[in-house]
Symmetry: D2
Subunit: 480 residues, 4 copies
Amino acid sequence: MSLKIIKGGTVVTAEGEARADVLIQGETIAAVGPDLDANGADVIDATGAYVMPGGIDPHTHMELPFMGTVASEDFFSGTTAAAVGGTTSVIDFVIPGPQQDVMEAYRSWRGWSEKAATDYGFHVAITWWDESVRKAMHTLVHEEGVNSFKHFMAYKNAIMCDDETLVNSFSEARELGALCTVHAENGELVFRLQQEIYDKGITGPEGHPLSRPPEVEGEAANRAIRIAEVLGVPLYLVHTSCIDALEAVTRARLEGQRVYAEVLAQHLVIDDSVYRDPDWRKAAHHVMSPPFRAKEHQEALWRGLQAGMLQTTATDHCCFCTPQKEMGKDDFRGIPNGTGGIEDRMSVLWHHGVGTGRLTPSEFVAVTSTNCAKIFNIHPQKGSMAVGADADLVVWDAEASRTISAETHHQNVDYNIYEGMEVQGLAKVTLSRGRVVWNDGDVRTERGTGRYVKRKPFANYWAAQLRRNELAEPTPVHRG
Amino acid sequence: MSLKIIKGGTVVTAEGEARADVLIQGETIAAVGPDLDANGADVIDATGAYVMPGGIDPHTHMELPFMGTVASEDFFSGTTAAAVGGTTSVIDFVIPGPQQDVMEAYRSWRGWSEKAATDYGFHVAITWWDESVRKAMHTLVHEEGVNSFKHFMAYKNAIMCDDETLVNSFSEARELGALCTVHAENGELVFRLQQEIYDKGITGPEGHPLSRPPEVEGEAANRAIRIAEVLGVPLYLVHTSCIDALEAVTRARLEGQRVYAEVLAQHLVIDDSVYRDPDWRKAAHHVMSPPFRAKEHQEALWRGLQAGMLQTTATDHCCFCTPQKEMGKDDFRGIPNGTGGIEDRMSVLWHHGVGTGRLTPSEFVAVTSTNCAKIFNIHPQKGSMAVGADADLVVWDAEASRTISAETHHQNVDYNIYEGMEVQGLAKVTLSRGRVVWNDGDVRTERGTGRYVKRKPFANYWAAQLRRNELAEPTPVHRG
Amino acid sequence: MSLKIIKGGTVVTAEGEARADVLIQGETIAAVGPDLDANGADVIDATGAYVMPGGIDPHTHMELPFMGTVASEDFFSGTTAAAVGGTTSVIDFVIPGPQQDVMEAYRSWRGWSEKAATDYGFHVAITWWDESVRKAMHTLVHEEGVNSFKHFMAYKNAIMCDDETLVNSFSEARELGALCTVHAENGELVFRLQQEIYDKGITGPEGHPLSRPPEVEGEAANRAIRIAEVLGVPLYLVHTSCIDALEAVTRARLEGQRVYAEVLAQHLVIDDSVYRDPDWRKAAHHVMSPPFRAKEHQEALWRGLQAGMLQTTATDHCCFCTPQKEMGKDDFRGIPNGTGGIEDRMSVLWHHGVGTGRLTPSEFVAVTSTNCAKIFNIHPQKGSMAVGADADLVVWDAEASRTISAETHHQNVDYNIYEGMEVQGLAKVTLSRGRVVWNDGDVRTERGTGRYVKRKPFANYWAAQLRRNELAEPTPVHRG
Amino acid sequence: MSLKIIKGGTVVTAEGEARADVLIQGETIAAVGPDLDANGADVIDATGAYVMPGGIDPHTHMELPFMGTVASEDFFSGTTAAAVGGTTSVIDFVIPGPQQDVMEAYRSWRGWSEKAATDYGFHVAITWWDESVRKAMHTLVHEEGVNSFKHFMAYKNAIMCDDETLVNSFSEARELGALCTVHAENGELVFRLQQEIYDKGITGPEGHPLSRPPEVEGEAANRAIRIAEVLGVPLYLVHTSCIDALEAVTRARLEGQRVYAEVLAQHLVIDDSVYRDPDWRKAAHHVMSPPFRAKEHQEALWRGLQAGMLQTTATDHCCFCTPQKEMGKDDFRGIPNGTGGIEDRMSVLWHHGVGTGRLTPSEFVAVTSTNCAKIFNIHPQKGSMAVGADADLVVWDAEASRTISAETHHQNVDYNIYEGMEVQGLAKVTLSRGRVVWNDGDVRTERGTGRYVKRKPFANYWAAQLRRNELAEPTPVHRG
């Protein structure tokens, strides 16, 4: 088996920092410690650099069919761009159409994803309900290694999941030990606002954020949290973008509820002024849901991340090129929703997080990798530097810097929302299960070397949740 | 015109206290001041007592057809009991069945209410939606003096109003200047929980609160508040019973939103231990929605009242006698929901509110009368002691006390939820538009002397709300 | 006795609005109602205008000796400027030096204030403690009509009041039924920060806000509130300027504590960018404590006002001309603290409050006049339109506008912090106890016609406070 | 070197759980993994049990001279009792008297502690201020391995530290990279209340909690937090006992401030009814500061622990026997403050935390050991199961149970505050640096085998704090 050693760096994990070498045997970590014997191993020099678990992005949409087109980034190009930026795993989404057979959709996505260059998994969306959907949940958990289900509370008349379906799915997930996740926006209000705004003659991208104000996200976040609380299930909110939703999460967590929440790198650093940019193309390329928010939300999200109210960072990587965006030239409702960023997430977060003293390097690892691995139950295989873990690693140069641009990025899309941003802190070398896939400017990914990662149900936190449910069981007083 | 003078008391209004006499000419107040000339007037002695505006109860259900029976208290008996306790006006509810013609329902209630002994008005419930309902809202506001509409977020498969109807009705009310009110409980969750609990073999009244935990109220309260915020309408929550809903109200008010909230006297002083009382009859007589709550909610509600987060106090007076309650002997879901208390509200609130130092006498008047009159736009005709106002007055003896009991009360129901409670602070004399209807033990109400009170739309707070909506109007950036 | 009638206007009070005339007999209001008989009365035309209680400013410093100079505005010029803007009463401060005899200081201020043109009263500061101070508190309350005492938690080595003195004074005030008020800033931290910042070479006015960040105000506000809570006394915070202090107030009020808080008009509309203006004079003229804050604090303060967490608005009117400000040319610590604004408060608040839909006209009256009168126990003599109340009135033209400028203002100071601000909503006619003192451009005040207003202790809220204290009295379990 | 292997257990760390063996070579951990080769090693059987890092108690007072007596537990007996319960390290306190030479006090404590059976360290209290104290802080950090300083905000006229000293010490600690810790109670209020309550004839232990209500802790907690925020230093609150203090911590953490807080096991499970127990001895044995609180505080503290607002659990182990407690027989102010519990902490927290589903086993390890090690910068040497870490381990039997009693405990005190409590979850075997010190009923500690643990300054979080301070450095605008 091949032997590699990463020498001379500072190993940083969610637990702390220490000067140490890392020995890799084949696909896994064989040893971590100071001054390891490198005899016979290929040496990767990490002098002056950090060595950390590769990033995990729990929210991507490669080659997603959506709003009449298909996302431009495929599983190979997308995981390649990820690797360049220091991210070594993604969790993508299977999204069945309304009434579509869930297993059929699942198999389609598994087929598309075979070209991936790094490891990956899938959340599966519950977009409708009948007995076949219920059964599919069981099959996916017991046979396919899926342990999380997604629910869209927006997109009325398409993939929106009403309260009745939420209640059904959450109840089923409780039996399965699977984690419920939600896209939190009140679809009924969005639908009404879209129409009202369009009817007022606002047809450009500036209409998009007006139709999805923070309040509609706050409402839905709170609703999902309350339903989860009443039914006794853990919950995970994707792309928390605003104070309103963050406060709902915070309230619940302060009351001891097992609610997890994700924030996108772009929501931390970009504000909603982009939609009023006179350049339609720029505005349209920022159309995603939830939209970018006024500045005060960004500071609040950073604080949520610092305080542990938000545990994971993601990208919702979902790329559409300009011609695709132009499908909504005359009506913002027709602009495909989505932005890229999988290549930039780690650098953007390091620069604005660690570089500003908001986060320690350890906290950076926790929010870009380890917390995600724990929540979705692939720790310590992923997100750790334990002996035996997959050697998904990144050598991080905290001094190097670059200017982000669509002209130089590796993402398969003709726009970059961070265009012109200078960031300090870059992936120097990235390893995926022991293979070097990025080496200081040299892209070495290969189509199809990524592997599907099965995730088991009943992550650690379930035992506590189920114990609480058990203690809350009611007893009768009156008999008929 | 008849002339009466109330002499020697301390006049207390929402504004303050002062020693003063009150001169009444016919149905209205003619003068308020120290040492008024009583020449030719009948003298009502108020020495040592307070004189204040009569109570207004914004939430009653006289002779309501509900859950297969009809509430036992009719408009005459109910307004009589109210007068005995110092309450001189009520606002009851017109509740059309699903698909029932709204105006037809309205006319039924107007017919039933003609027997009332004191003044009254109606909120009208929106339980479904089509063009006829929309038109009825206009007719009611423009021709019938209705300025508030009620929405039940619970009671699935009956009168529950889904988000789509809420959005339609709230939008229409914005055009009309009418106040939207909501019964906040997530009906989808209640429905699920009722079934789950029943299936676990819990069939007695103890199942009732288990199927309607505070979280379902908190969720719905927040949802309604968010929808109102997004659509730009004021909102009024009926019977706020728990911390969860209070926090939603508080958050919104602290952000400057025009949200009003009501609390029932009984939720302030009775806790949920009643449902686990071995006496089925006692437990069943406490079945109402939202249910009684654990003790910590009561202290929180008092604080909400003190802090001005809750502005009004009501009873949700809806009486069912024991044989009616027994319709749910084998299944708590069949127990008609409702409790009485219109006779006791004022004394209970004085005793536990003023007697404990939580409220000043002025604050008591505000929360039992004046705030309600302002919110529902019948101030200063009601709820004030202004010259020209209706002489709906009560002479209040703060030293007198009584023990509440079904055996002595004037309510037409065979149970009293305050049974055995000793309260200090009683109505000594009550006047309805200048007529003495209660005189220290002597009931003098007459069937049919109560008058329907028309309420105009666009109460004062609407101008501010509409100005804010106007300033928030979006402008286009991009043209097609 | 002279008879005047204000005809054709809309009377607005803290209670509501109505079309009504106002009849004035001598110094007091004789009648309020529609179409009053004006026979023999001088008519003041209020067609198209509002008629409301004159403003009360609870926080002014006329001719204050401070930081080595004396405030430029005296009691005559200051009350004149107030009248022009629609304010008809002020409460100023007696501030004894450390170890100065309190009664001696009180007599000095009473002498200086005799030149006032409108009515006034005094808070008295407790700046040190011994038996003579304790006795003076009794004399002031029982003989001099003082019912409020001020405590400076900042200004170390000058008038700062440490915790021991706070505890002594608050305890004494509890016996007297007098209201404790505090200037909330942690003087120990301010002192340290001033030195640190100066030592870093920051000597200009930009050093002032750096030495008094919001946190030092939040700390002190919370400390004073907690001390008041533990000792069982109501509390009043002057010039709440930031989120940190507002949150302390809000927390306490939501828990039912009787805490009142004031906000200055200028803190609602001016932000801290003024201190970094390259014009030293401009920056220096904004030096006051607490300083102007970052923008987010202003929106929060407006919300606090809307939600009732802040009850009064004031100016802390304390004028220093440019040569006085220049005493601190080389060291920001030497710039006399203070800004003007008594003439502009009402218009600024109307324009930014009512004009934006944040406040209704009734709420405007409450926060500029009535609430203050109630808290300091001069209601309904002041701040109301009750029959018998002092005819301190203003005819308010909501359509008229003006541009604020030092060149045209009536304040005795060479700078105006609102310079160039256009405001809509002006006092057209102002009456002080029935005399017209401002008539649409014509200043008619006279030196010495203002009267000292005695304020009684034990305002209404004290009964509730004392009842709570009584119920909280502990009882012994173990005997020695 | 001796070789031991713990076989067959489930290793649980702050990071997660897994079936694994643990190999110990001499004093440190040599390997962790499934099915390790046990050749030649002494086998410790952990079948069916958890294996975890030994507990660390960051707050003990062995043989403390206090209130005229000396705590009964010495360093040997105390660390022995700790070991029995699964705790393998403590951090005790050096508390110089006012004006006492700090280094002299330090040397006294180092002398006393030489008898310890397990490892230990010291926080040093700053009880007064002059240049010698400042210098001692440097010496302690640079030469003695002390990285934390304690500040008592209570105990007026004894060891209380006023704001001036707090500001001096916090500023100095910022230079040193040492962590400031505070005992948060407003000493001025406590002093006043003690006198008032005693003067009312309340002389028994029930007077103790009355003189230290939650508000005095909340006030001081907030004050310390604000001072730390303004000065730019991390902060650690010891023994957070109430909602009031927890809310101050929570507010700060949600704003991104680096505030850490500790909770005592006893505050989580015992309420203030103990003080009103008719048995004086029982009441007196619960006299500690802060005192036990009303029940609602306990649920809030659990939630704070679950939400990560509280990071560590401790005991404030400070034992006084009945004759010592009787020093305050006639005056509660004379009862020595303190309770025991070091032996019971781990079991009490497991039973009430893990057994109720509030905490997962991993979270238990975090709050009993790992978080403390990180905060006080002795991780991964302590609080981890990393290869190379000290073999301070405990084999935990989650099924075994015992009834706590003074008759059977190993603490050197004649009372146990948990008397009669049955707890499930016990230390079966405890190892201190590889030596078995407790083996299922067999106590094997030896006097003097414990070692003083030096702690380095500038724990990981300091880099982030200092970076933030740097970015907040002001720049001048105006030049003199």
